[in-house]
């Protein structure tokens, strides 16, 4: 009869064991650990003091911010401007509705067991932008019109990123297919388009859209700056997207194409049913990577005088009525960006897990 196995020695298990293994396994790891602990202890204290304990949250003006800590009061006072820009107060419910719908469409995507969450996602891709198209600018169904020059803040950032992302994915997919097409004219057009747009920096695209384009349009024909910027972003982004998708298309083995053809599927059915679903799944990390990059790139609209969230903050931190609120402002912007980018990243990981077929192992 085998003896019951003995417990491992105390040095090898529990907290002590873990620490021996991970923190103090050799002399240089010990040194690194001690240095890190020292840094964390000396940094965290003052940081927490600044962010929470000595910070000012309540009050009405700059003079209330007396402590050494952050003046979050400034953010609170200007929050409305940071979120809605110049959107009229009385009509901000329209933006709130859109924020609400955005949450409704995407919150379920983070909950594995949520019933029919696929349809919520589908709504986010189709219904949501459609409602936004009518609701945000107004001018329909008796809604008062709000010019796009009044949009701003977080709302504008989200519009730029959302429209850019939503339009660039299908456009990029079509371009990727076109680049691999057998038809020389289509292939040529796609190659030229992709190579031209991918070779210019976004800042140039925006600058051209805002400064040069109006000069070549006839007098009186003046489509809005935001629209010009959006079109620029979409075209630029779709070129990037095309290359990401093309990477996925190339990774699909030739056998898949041949098998689909052997089944008698035409080009579109072959692509739509067999190749693209696999290719897109493969490149989810690449796609989301590009989206996150775009989300952050939207801040470049600052140089053409559109007030995205960063622009809104930058234009108010110079207000002489407030002393030195620049750090608070930038921390706030960084936090907003982190929330959205981290959300996108988590969502993509969810998606990868869900779509994992186990073939790759």
């Amino acid at each position: 009869m085998p003896r019951p196995s003995e417990l491992p020695p105390i040095k090898e298990i529990g907290a002590i064991g873990w620490m021996r293994k991970h923190l103090f396994s050799s002399w240089y790891n010990t040194v690194l650990t001690l240095v890190s602990v020292y840094l964390i202890v000396t940094l965290i204290g003052p940081l927490l003091n600044w962010v929470v304990f000595e910070a000012t949250f309540a009050g009405s003006s700059s003079s209330d911010c007396k402590g050494e800590g952050a003046c979050w009061l400034f953010i609170g006072q200007r929050l409305n401007f940071f979120i809605y820009g110049f959107y009229p107060d009385a009509l901000q419910w329209r933006v709130d509705v859109m924020f609400g719908l955005l949450a409704v469409a995407f919150a379920p995507q983070f909950m594995e067991r949520f019933p029919a969450r696929k349809y919520f996602g589908l709504f986010g891709m189709t219904g949501l932008p459609l409602i936004g198209y009518f609701l945000i600018p107004g001018g329909w169904f008796g809604l008062e019109e709000v010019q796009s020059s009044k949009w701003g803040g977080l709302m504008l950032t989200l519009i730029l990123a959302y429209v850019g992302i939503l339009a660039a994915l299908p456009l990029g997919t079509v371009l990727a297919l076109g680049r691999r097409s057998d038809m020389p004219v289509i292939r040529g057009i796609c190659v030229v388009f992709i190579e031209v747009w991918r070779a210019v920096p976004l800042i140039t695209v925006l600058f051209m859209a805002s400064v040069m384009l109006p000069l070549f349009l006839p007098e009186g024909m003046n489509f809005e700056k935001l629209m010009r910027a959006l079109i620029g972003i979409i075209l630029w982004q779709s070129a990037y997207m095309a290359e990401v998708v093309r990477g996925g298309l190339q990774a699909i083995p030739k056998g898949q194409y041949e098998a689909a053809s052997a089944l008698g599927l035409g080009y579109w059915k072959k692509m739509g049913l067999i190749v693209l679903p696999q290719a897109l799944t493969l490149v989810i990390p690449g796609i989301v990577n590009t989206f996150i990059a775009l989300f952050k790139d939207t801040t470049l609209v600052l140089i053409i005088g559109l007030f995205d969230i960063l622009g809104a903050v930058q234009s108010t931190i110079t207000d002489p009525a407030w002393q030195n609120v620049a750090i608070e402002g930038y921390v706030f912007v960084a936090f907003c960006f982190w929330v959205f980018c981290f959300g996108m990243s988590r969502y993509s990981q969810n998606l990868e897990r869900k779509l994992d077929t186990g073939h790759k192992t």
Partner: protein
């Protein structure tokens, strides 16, 4: 800050050529049709144009635009604002995206002639000045020989400074920063003895220091920066409207008409006041506006002095004395042709 790059110059030149195409309708007509005046402003310059906590624009440039809106529509609220960067500002005007540019823009010969634009007047006489650390014990700029100076890269400020020190036969050590914020921080950290920028901004920059009383602004002004509204060349009617909206404000201050007493002033016997407020004469008609356009400007925005005091004058965060921006009758150079 007036950044100049060759790119902007090329853009502007192209614009000048293209913008000289004949306009389909006059600017005044198209403004009336769309129901508001579209003005180009900065994307945030304290005292001149900056969004407040309610998200509405305030500042002396903003009020100058509102005066035009009041002249045309009778309401200062009929003005919309487009924030523009320094590079975009002239193109936006040339292309017709905006009707008036009130964006802290210095009137120079080059801009007046080569851009296809016209300056209509001056709503603020600015100039470059110095902010020095009090520890230096310096009272005037001529004592600054050998000083280290914090400046922002790529601005005319930098060139003006070099010109000034060269003509005085003095030396200086420049420490160059990228943005105005960094410049102030450099000064606050004691990296330089003084900081130079437009005078109107020096007070605001000073108030950003941890201890504003440790620094002071020197009396000298080393450059001329007359700032004013700009319109497209070739539409004299609109040029006149924008020009006289400002002149009416200056004349009103001279005649003692304020936002508060403008209704009483309507009953005045003084013919100058009557003409300005439109109770006699056909001044409005000559401009293509309603007879009471002067009354509307004062009622909605106030006279020049009120506009100045509200935005940049003593008691505001910028806390600027009137100085040369006072009326000519009070020792300044604000002078407007008569309304008659």
């Amino acid at each position: 800050m007036k950044k100049r790059t060759s790119l902007a110059a090329i853009t502007a030149l192209t614009g000048a050529m293209l913008a000289s195409n004949a306009m389909a309708a006059t600017t005044l007509e198209s403004v009336k049709e769309k129901g508001h005046v579209q003005c180009g402003v900065t994307s945030g310059l304290p005292g001149f144009s900056q969004p407040d906590e309610k998200g509405s624009w305030t500042g002396i440039d903003v009020d100058t635009c509102r005066a035009v809106a009041a002249a045309v529509f009778g309401s200062g609220q009929s003005a919309e604002f487009t924030p523009l960067t320094a590079k975009e500002r002239f193109t936006a005007l040339q292309s017709g995206e905006i009707d008036v540019l009130t964006r802290n823009t210095t009137w120079t010969l080059t801009r007046d002639t080569s851009l296809g634009l016209n300056f209509t007047g001056v709503n603020y006489y600015d100039g470059q000045g110095f902010l020095v650390n009090k520890k230096l014990g310096v009272d005037m700029a001529s004592q600054l020989d050998g000083a280290t100076v914090c400046i922002q890269a790529g601005t005319t400020t930098e060139l003006n400074l070099a010109d000034y020190f060269r003509t005085k036969g003095m030396k200086f050590n420049p420490i160059v920063f990228d943005t105005s914020e960094q410049t102030v921080q450099g000064f606050a950290a004691g990296r330089c003895d003084m900081l130079t920028s437009d005078r109107s901004q020096l007070a605001a920059l000073r108030s950003k220091l941890n201890d504003p009383s440790s620094a002071k602004i020197l009396p000298e002004t080393i450059s001329k920066e007359p700032l004013g509204p700009v319109v497209r060349q070739g539409d004299d009617q609109w040029f006149n409207v924008v020009k006289w909206a400002l002149f009416v404000q200056i004349n009103a201050e001279e005649l003692g008409i304020t936002q508060a007493n403008v209704d009483d002033m309507k009953k005045s016997d003084n013919p100058s006041i009557q003409r300005l407020l439109g109770t006699t004469g056909d001044m409005g008609e000559k401009l293509g506006l309603s007879a009471d356009f002067g009354y509307n400007i004062i009622k909605q925005v106030g006279n020049y002095g009120e506009m100045y005091n509200r935005n940049v004058g003593p008691g505001t965060p910028l806390d600027l004395e009137r100085g040369i921006n006072a009326l000519w009758t009070e020792g300044g150079i604000m002078y407007a042709p008569p309304v008659r």
